[in-house]
Symmetry: C2
Subunit: 155 residues, 2 copies
């Protein structure tokens, strides 16, 4: 990092700023539509729950965080009405985390809004440029799993 922010330093900043601007736009609109409490982390976690539900331990594994941390996040989702815990019929130890209707609605609306953002990028830059960006990132990135250990990772 020189004082003049050379090229090399700019690339990661731009990638993060791109990510952030999309997520900010998404959540500004979600807040307007009745989800003011929803945070980016909630969408990721809810996605990790999956349509069939999952145990907190499994969610932790999918997110790359401890089962305890996953449990706390599920507590939060539960408090906000996006997920619920039900007894696991096949394992008396476990409690299955499932999406509520509100949780499913949040994900569905998020998907629509993400499509809108991408369409705007395509309109602005050209569809081919957006496709190229995605293709290039796919080539350079190990795998676009949603690791959720961001808090601990960043700081």
């Amino acid at each position: 990092m020189t004082e003049t922010d050379g090229y090399g330093f700019e690339l990661p900043l731009l990638l993060f700023a791109g990510f952030r601007s999309i997520i900010d736009e998404l959540h500004a609109e979600l807040a307007r539509e009745g989800h003011p409490q929803a945070r980016p982390a909630h969408g990721f976690a809810l996605q990790a729950v999956g349509p069939q539900g999952a145990t907190a331990s499994e969610i932790g594994r999918r997110l790359g965080i401890s089962k305890q941390a996953a449990g706390k996040t599920v507590d939060r989702l539960e408090a906000l009405g996006y997920a619920a815990r039900v007894p696991d019929p096949r394992d008396a130890r476990g409690r299955l985390v499932v999406r509520t209707a509100r949780g499913t609605e949040l994900l569905a609306r998020s998907a629509e809004l993400f499509e809108q953002v991408r369409a705007r990028w395509a309109a602005e830059l050209g569809a081919d440029r957006v496709r190229a960006m995605e293709q290039d990132l796919r080539a350079m990135v190990p795998s676009p799993l949603f690791r959720l250990d961001v808090s601990g990772w960043l700081g």
Copy 2:
């Protein structure tokens, strides 16, 4: 977000994964070179200090966080030997935060490593594709300031 991760949902994920893979690579190497304690947040904060030094309040403003939070981060940088607080000769209220030699070294080495990563991307994808990615992101992103309120923002 549909279950099948349509295009719209993939773009932000790819942007974040790209950012993250670069930062992970950087810090893996920094750790090998004697900076195992350095976290991504430290680099951002140290950058915000600037070559002339800055007050904690000013750092907070640059990073988009409260002066108290900035103060805590400076505490951390100080403990790790990357920054020091000196009396501000022009303001008896303030204490100027300045980079130590070790802090400057961390930033310089980071800059070199960022250049290396970008060169690898250019070799893999083609220099024009990397330039195009940067150009397109620059066009879509408000401004690539390093907001550091990520912890609070994400969760």
